[in-house]
């Protein structure tokens, strides 16, 4: 059964066009309408029950609703007055989609968005059922959905988005997706099915994403970095696209932003990064928790002070900005939206627990983890830190934890003298402890505590009052950590660095 996670059940043999296109409330067959309304009511009840039991309730309601009304995603999503935007890619989906939703809300739109990141078909269905009325109507201007890469072909057929944003491709959960090439292939398949009035918003700086342009049957917008000189960086050990997509010669990078993202050129066949339409013209970190950005397109300029750090968040803002511009959103709303953005669900959330400062960050693949380590190493000048790394190996995390050896943990030794506390946790607490030992951390100081609640309590007790406690969690560990912090009466998002 395990392998079925990424695939939605194909229910019934209904052709999608008949149901979706002919839908006008007045003419809809009564039976279909009743089914839809019943599905929505049931989904709402299940969601309420889940929340009463302390669960997120972001997938089960949709799963049940899809059983009853298999066409509900298309029926509901297509009622959005301005249409749907799909955000996909390995890293930055949740943040980019949340930024875009924030921008659209500040432009006065009514937005439906799967903010908890439930991004398989059943998650999309849960989100739509929660937003819909029991009469089967969805009052929304725009639906913004982050979508799992493997679900993209089905999601595009059902949602018929007006825009698709692809952020990047990094190795991620190889046990679930198989090889990266397969993931890229699935997204290409979805892109090829866009209709002619849609728009594809692609990252020019990732050779794997830029290559998707070959399949785009509609308008195409590239976004990318163009500030120079970019701080020179070394390629991480487990980079995913060092070699030319056309002729396999190693790329020469004019500059590298992070991972394999940057301005690449193949010295043999001349294949190079396409010129970005929406460009990041300025990037300046502000302390450990923010940055100044300036984005340009067609002589228009958007300058913002972002309240989240790191080059990867600059890319997320750039992607959201490019998508918003493609929808004709005014610069003023983009600026207001991005400046009011305070971090997405579980992605570098700052909280206070009993007077202690805690920074909760999701780590799920080498590229993302390397960037979190960068932020941690740079932000550590200000004082001592405690570190809890919680790695689970459930289906949603990826059952294979080999990727921990692709993360450059060796860089943590640069700030070893500031790391006051080092706890590993989760179902793979011991694997993580071994990884840190081989990264050069003192094994006597590494404490494996598999129970996450216990690990967090132990860390909070041991960490000095003015230390910053980093809580780095794989996906299901992040959900557990949030619940544990809520029980400990954490105060959300009040602490800021400056």
């Amino acid at each position: 059964m395990g392998g079925a996670v990424a695939h939605a059940p194909e229910i019934g043999g209904r052709t999608r066009s008949g149901f979706a296109e002919a839908w006008v409330p007045g003419t809809l067959e009564v039976q279909k309408l009743l089914r839809l309304c019943f599905a929505i009511i049931l989904a709402k009840l299940i969601a309420r029950l889940c929340r009463a039991l302390g669960r997120a309730g972001s997938t089960l309601p949709g799963r049940v609703a899809l059983r009853i009304a298999p066409g509900l995603i298309e029926t509901l999503a297509q009622q959005a007055r301005r249409g749907t935007v799909v955000v996909t890619g390995t890293n930055g989906k949740t943040t980019t989609a949340t930024m875009l939703a924030t921008i659209l809300r500040s432009a006065g739109y009514r937005v439906v968005h799967n903010r908890e990141g439930a991004n398989l078909l059943r998650g999309l269905a849960s989100t739509l059922c929660r937003a819909a009325g029991v009469n089967g109507r969805l009052h929304a201007d725009v639906v913004v959905m982050e979508v799992d890469e493997a679900t993209v072909p089905q999601a595009i057929v059902r949602l018929r988005p007006m825009a698709v944003v692809v952020t990047n491709f990094f190795r991620d959960q190889l046990d679930r997706y198989g090889e990266l090439e397969r993931t890229v292939g699935l997204v290409a398949e979805g892109i090829a099915r866009l209709n002619a009035r849609s728009c594809a918003v692609l990252c020019a700086d990732d050779p794997l994403v830029a290559e998707l342009s070959r399949w785009v049957p509609c308008r195409l917008i590239f976004f990318g970095v163009e500030t120079r000189p970019w701080v020179p960086r070394e390629m991480p050990h487990a980079a995913d696209a060092k070699y030319c997509r056309q002729c396999d010669a190693p790329y020469r990078y004019e500059f590298l932003v992070y991972g394999h993202l940057g301005s690449y050129l193949c010295p043999r066949c001349g294949h190079r990064r396409p010129r970005p339409d929406v460009r990041l013209a300025r990037f300046e970190p502000v302390g450990a928790s923010g940055c100044h950005l300036e984005m340009r397109a067609n002589g228009r300029s958007v300058a913002v002070r972002l309240k989240v750090p790191g080059a990867y968040n600059a890319y997320n803002a750039l992607a959201a900005c490019a998508a918003a511009l493609s929808m004709g959103i005014h610069e003023e709303h983009i600026i207001r939206g991005l400046e009011s953005f305070r971090g997405a669900f579980g992605r570098m959330e700052a909280v206070r627990v009993g007077g202690r400062r805690v920074l909760l960050a999701l780590v799920k693949n080498p590229a993302g983890f390397n960037e979190v380590i960068s932020a941690l190493v740079r932000g550590a000048d200000s004082g001592t830190i405690g570190l809890v790394v919680a790695i689970n190996d459930r289906q949603a995390d990826g059952t294979d934890v080999s990727w921990l050896w692709d993360v450059d943990f060796e860089r943590l030794t640069q700030v070893a003298h500031r790391i006051q506390l080092l706890v590993t946790s989760g179902t793979r607490a011991h694997d993580m402890a071994v990884r840190l030992k081989y990264a050069g951390m003192d094994p006597a100081r590494i404490q494996p505590i598999p129970g996450l609640g216990q690990a967090i309590r132990a860390a909070l007790d041991a960490v000095e009052p003015d230390s910053l406690l980093y809580l780095l969690c794989s996906y299901t560990a992040m959900l557990q950590a949030r619940r544990a912090l809520e029980r400990m009466k954490a105060v959300g998002r009040i602490w800021e660095d400056q």
């Binding site: 190795r171 090439e181 050990h237 487990a238 980079a239 294979d400 050896w405 011991h430 081989y438 494996p448």
Partner: protein, 253 residues
């Protein structure tokens, strides 16, 4: 002070499942003992001198990357690699590299991709991927320990009489999901489907390989023991978990 040299074959192409962890483990376990381990990357176009190395390592790659190294492996490094194995150089080949060191790989379409023939083994594309945690018991004489790792392959590998299995599977699929064998051993060359990474969590195997390399270069030299409590704990936790999961599975069948 002892010095050993490790040749890392195609480090930036064949590095799919954290296989670099094996090189990290060998380097650290040498350093902790005061042995210098020189690591030499051997990429596309580099010549391989069969005399120059005590250990050779090659990880797994995606199909695209395996295609990219295929010509180079056969044209530039194949003979030297065979020669190195003949001379007793320690070789560790993981997953895709293990397949490439056999006689051939037969694809779904029936095409045959030739390997280097170092192991008397061949691989056939299978109908489904074999994915999951593995526990296996070493099948080499005098070595009585378990291996833990993670496998993810659709190729089924079968061993001929010219090589021996590395281990017997207790939980998981192993080479082909049929005969209970995992990996292959020929001279001092070891092939296996296990990543995880393999060596950090199986320090006894790491030391078995290092010990072979050391005593070949410096006859009489022996490895000093290390404090492996953390590694052994990680190993034991996974063995216990997999064995009890495995039992639960066989009951529910």
């Amino acid at each position: 002070m002892y010095t050993l040299r490790l040749g890392h074959l195609y480090p930036d192409l064949m590095n799919l499942y954290g296989d670099r962890g094996n090189v990290i483990a060998l380097e650290r376990r040498c350093r902790w003992r005061g042995i210098r381990l020189e690591i030499v990357p051997l990429g596309l176009g580099d010549e391989l001198d069969p005399e120059a190395f005590d250990l050779l390592f090659m990880g797994g790659g995606q199909d695209r990357e395996q295609r990219a190294i295929f010509r180079d492996l056969h044209k530039r490094k194949g003979d030297a690699l065979r020669e190195a194995v003949r001379r007793g150089v320690v070789v560790l080949a993981i997953c895709g590299a293990f397949q490439l060191l056999g006689h051939y790989y037969r694809t779904h379409q029936g095409d045959t991709i030739p390997g280097l023939g170092i192991f008397d083994a061949w691989t056939e594309a299978g109908p489904r991927r074999m994915i999951g945690n593995v526990v296996a018991r070493m099948a080499i004489a005098d070595l009585n320990f378990t291996l833990v790792g993670f496998e993810n392959h659709s190729g089924r590998t079968y061993l001929g009489p010219g090589c021996r299995p590395l281990a017997r599977v207790l939980v998981g699929y192993g080479n082909n999901g049929e005969d209970g064998t995992e990996g292959a051993v020929y001279e001092n060359a070891v092939g296996t489907y296990l990543h995880g990474s393999l060596l950090p969590k199986n320090p006894q195997l790491a030391d078995y390989l290092l010990g072979k390399a050391l005593s070949r270069r410096y006859p009489g030299a022996r490895l000093s023991p290390l404090d492996d409590r953390l590694e052994q704990l990680a190993h034991r936790v996974m063995v216990q978990r997999c064995m009890s999961d495995g039992r639960a599975r066989s009951w529910s069948r």
